[in-house]
């Protein structure tokens, strides 16, 4: 009995990198909401609200600044994540197989 070892692609190749766009949009939305809040706070801060409130708001603004850089980092990571996922899935679709067969003798006609 003969055998052949080879790889076999069970599903065609797919580019799944565009999954990153879905997440980028959500991160951007998160950033936009924070930005809108900061703009409103800064507008209100232009006229003094009183020491107690001002201090808390400044902390809130600082919080947002950190938030912004973290959001940007996540946005850039999304491409990498989607890239690796796409690679992972396409690799998975190809598997090693062994095919077993027998040669058949064909009798000559009488």
């Amino acid at each position: 009995m003969g055998q052949i070892n080879r790889t076999y692609r069970f599903r065609p190749y797919e580019d799944l990198k565009n999954k990153s766009a879905l997440f980028k949009h959500q991160f951007e939305e998160m950033g936009r909401l924070g930005y809108e809040m900061v703009m409103s706070i800064e507008k209100e801060l232009a006229s003094s609200l009183g020491r107690i409130v001002d201090e808390s708001l400044k902390a809130l603004l600082q919080n947002h600044k950190e938030n912004e850089s973290i959001i940007n980092r996540y946005i850039s990571q999304m491409d990498l994540v989607a890239d690796r996922y796409s690679q992972n899935i396409n690799d998975m679709k190809e598997q090693s197989i062994t095919i077993y067969y027998e040669e058949v003798e064909i009798s000559a006609p009488k």
Partner: protein, 677 residues
């Protein structure tokens, strides 16, 4: 006051009246609701609809902008039987369109109220009130019918109308009440009081009563203004006592309008609450106390003469009425100059025949007319018309300025009677203005009359003399009007105590100032539409918090964090769908395919080598990597971060809220103010 009135305190009414000016943002149901919550700590128990005068296509029969602005707020709750409207007539603005336009309001204060000659703002206010009341009634009728059709047991409650007005708005709302009696209560804040002359102009019955009482012809200004003011006041206040009984005045002792409310003609109707908004300042009333009624009377007659000019053409008309000078004059001068240039470049010549009488020597007994052609430049029609117009205008200026200079002494006298510091300097500037006016009159001299006579005789050839004469006058007018503007500017720059007192009186006039004065004892003042809470700590330190702003930030912040939470939830869902579930689905599909291959190897015969071979089986050496840790960790890390950021942000907002609540712990409304919206 009605027990169930929605706007049931002076502060609430003053704040809503301030809101109507739209200084920071346009009055809206949301703003009204916020102010109500700030003042009462409760939500408003009604649906709110706001109607704006600017939304009415047609404000009066004249179709002109009178300067009137107003708002009607309708509070409606069918279940609770609440159906109330508040007509708010806006007070004086320095100029229309946010100060950029004409100062119609202040002109109306003079011509409409003091003199009683202009009615346009009152007419617009009446039209607006009537039109919107009709609209509200139709809306409520439709709602009640709909509810009845649905089987609800509701009965229509008649619309209860209330009025609020500040400054000029206070005058308009009182006039509406006196003329229509349609309000349950009218609240006039630092109002310009109605005047007997204004009422005589609008109310025919009252005018007839004056005529009978004082035996005068009320259509004759001189006779009307000659009635002793004290007698007219007593008569008018008695006449309108019943109609004015529901007018409630709220007046700052230092208010500038209150200072002049003792002048001739002004009436005091209804009740009045006077508040001392600045204990260190007694107002400008003492400074104006010595002004003689005779001078006011003269001023009134002069203003009555000017009123029709304003009614006809607004500010331009007023200037034309007082001086004969307006923008059109300068355009006319430019036209004459242009036409003259064209003419000088090369006139068309005509040769009319002039009969020359021949006779005498050497034939004394005979004479005859001989036609002789004489070259005369043909005066272009445009130049001829423009010169004629300019000449007529010069004559008009002469008449108007003569009248104005005659009336200036009354103004000097009024000023001299006041206790204004530096008044002598102001008077000296006014005298200089009078000098400039006289220079214009002097330049006109008798030329105008001479030219008028000659210009209408086109065959006369002294056109150059006329042109030069008129243009000299025009140049003098231009030069002297510039001088007059400069002197007026200097008057306003004169440093004097009165200016300071006057600015205090102006400040006290503001409706926000009144609201702050009323709320001061409760540790509250107002800036624009915002409520400022303050208190003095035991160590003497004063702490102030803009409560309105803090609430806005708190509510907006909470809204944003709620939105962020939604985004986070959505992001988690997408992560699960796009990666976790997607991976699992793909893995299952692959396993299913592997299983199919191993179970049905003959279906994959195409994989066999060429030749006579038979499939015996296929083994898949499956190697399926799990989802990468780096992927799941990235997302879990992000979700954790946003979760924590959310908690931190909300904690900070709550800290703002709790520190304010603690600071003003005695006021239980504050908590509700943060919660309600």
């Amino acid at each position: 006051m009605e027990k169930n009135e929605i706007l049931n305190t002076d502060i609430l009414r003053a704040r809503i009246a301030e809101l109507e000016y739209g200084k920071t943002e346009m009055i809206s149901a949301d703003l009204i609701r916020r102010i109500y919550i700030e003042e009462t700590g409760k939500d408003i128990p009604a649906e709110i609809t706001v109607y704006y005068s600017k939304d009415l296509n047609k404000t009066n029969d004249l179709g002109k902008d009178s300067g009137f602005d107003g708002t009607i707020i309708h509070f409606y709750n069918a279940e609770q039987g609440l159906n109330q409207s508040y007509t708010i007539t806006r007070g004086s603005e320095n100029g229309e369109d946010g100060g950029k336009g004409m100062p119609h309001d202040w002109i109306y204060n003079s011509f409409g109220i003091f003199v009683g000659k202009v009615q346009d703002q009152y007419l617009d206010a009446r039209y607006f009130d009537k039109a919107i009341s009709k609209k509200i009634n139709e809306k409520v009728d439709a709602d009640i019918n709909n509810r009845k059709i649905k089987g609800e047991e509701v009965n229509k409650v008649e619309l209860e109308k209330f009025g609020i007005g500040h400054s000029l708005g206070g005058n308009l709302i009182q006039m509406l009440q006196l003329m229509t009696g349609s309000y349950k209560n009218v609240y006039a804040i630092n109002d310009a009081p109605p005047s007997a002359y204004q009422l005589a102009s609008i109310d025919r019955k009252f005018r007839r009563s004056i005529s009978r009482q004082f035996n005068i012809n009320p259509d004759n200004d001189k006779e009307l203004y000659s009635i002793p003011p004290s007698q007219l006041k007593v008569f008018a206040e008695k006449y309108y006592k019943e109609k004015g009984k529901n007018i409630h005045h709220l007046t700052a002792e230092e208010d500038m309008l209150f200072a002049v409310s003792g002048f001739r003609g002004f009436l005091n109707l209804g009740d009045r609450k006077i508040i001392d908004t600045d204990p260190g300042f007694e107002g400008i009333r003492p400074a104006l106390g010595n002004i003689s009624d005779k001078d006011l009377h003269n001023l009134q007659i002069y203003l009555a003469y000017l009123a029709p000019y304003y009614s006809e053409n607004g500010m331009d008309g007023l200037l034309r009425g007082a001086t004969g000078i307006d923008k059109g004059l300068f355009t006319l001068i430019d036209t004459v100059e242009q036409e003259w240039k064209v003419f000088m470049q090369g006139p068309d010549w005509r040769f009319p025949s002039i009969n020359i009488k021949l006779g005498g020597f050497p034939f004394p007994q005979t004479s005859m007319d001989i036609p002789v052609p004489v070259p005369i430049p043909h005066m272009p029609k445009g130049l001829f018309i423009a010169l004629g117009e300019l000449n007529l205008r010069v004559l008009e200026i002469k008449t108007k300025l003569s009248n104005l200079t005659k009336n200036l002494p009354a103004l000097f006298s009024i000023l001299a009677d006041t206790a204004i510091v530096m008044k002598d300097e102001i008077i000296s500037y006014l005298k200089e203005i009078k000098g400039h006016l006289k220079n214009i009159l002097k330049s006109i001299g008798n030329l105008g009359g001479v030219i008028l006579k000659d210009v209408i005789t086109p065959s006369d050839i002294r056109y150059k003399e006329y042109f030069v004469g008129l243009m000299k006058i025009a140049a003098t007018i231009k030069f002297e009007t510039a001088n007059i503007k400069e002197k007026i500017r200097k008057i306003f720059e004169v440093p004097n105590g009165f200016a300071e007192d006057f600015s205090k009186a102006v400040e006290a006039h503001g409706v926000g100032h009144v609201a702050s004065a009323l709320a001061m004892k409760d540790g509250v003042r107002y800036e624009g539409n915002d409520m400022i809470r303050f208190k003095t700590e035991s160590n003497g330190q004063k702490i102030e918090v803009n409560l309105s702003s803090a609430v806005r930030i708190y509510q907006l912040g909470m809204d944003k964090y709620s939105d962020k939470e939604n985004v986070l939830t959505r992001m988690r869902d997408i992560y699960h769908r796009e990666y976790i579930e997607d991976y699992q689905n793909r893995k299952n599909e692959l396993l299913s395919s592997i299983n199919h291959m191993e179970s049905n190897p003959n279906a994959y015969r195409f994989l066999l080598p060429a030749g006579d071979v038979e499939m015996r089986g296929i083994t898949v050496h499956e190697s399926i990597r799990p989802l990468e840790n780096s992927l799941t960790e990235t997302f879990e890390d992000a979700f954790h971060y946003f979760n924590e950021e959310q908690k931190r942000g909300i904690a900070m907002l709550n800290k703002i809220r709790s520190s304010i609540e603690e600071l003003f712990h005695e006021d239980k409304r504050i908590s509700a103010i943060f919660d309600l919206r």
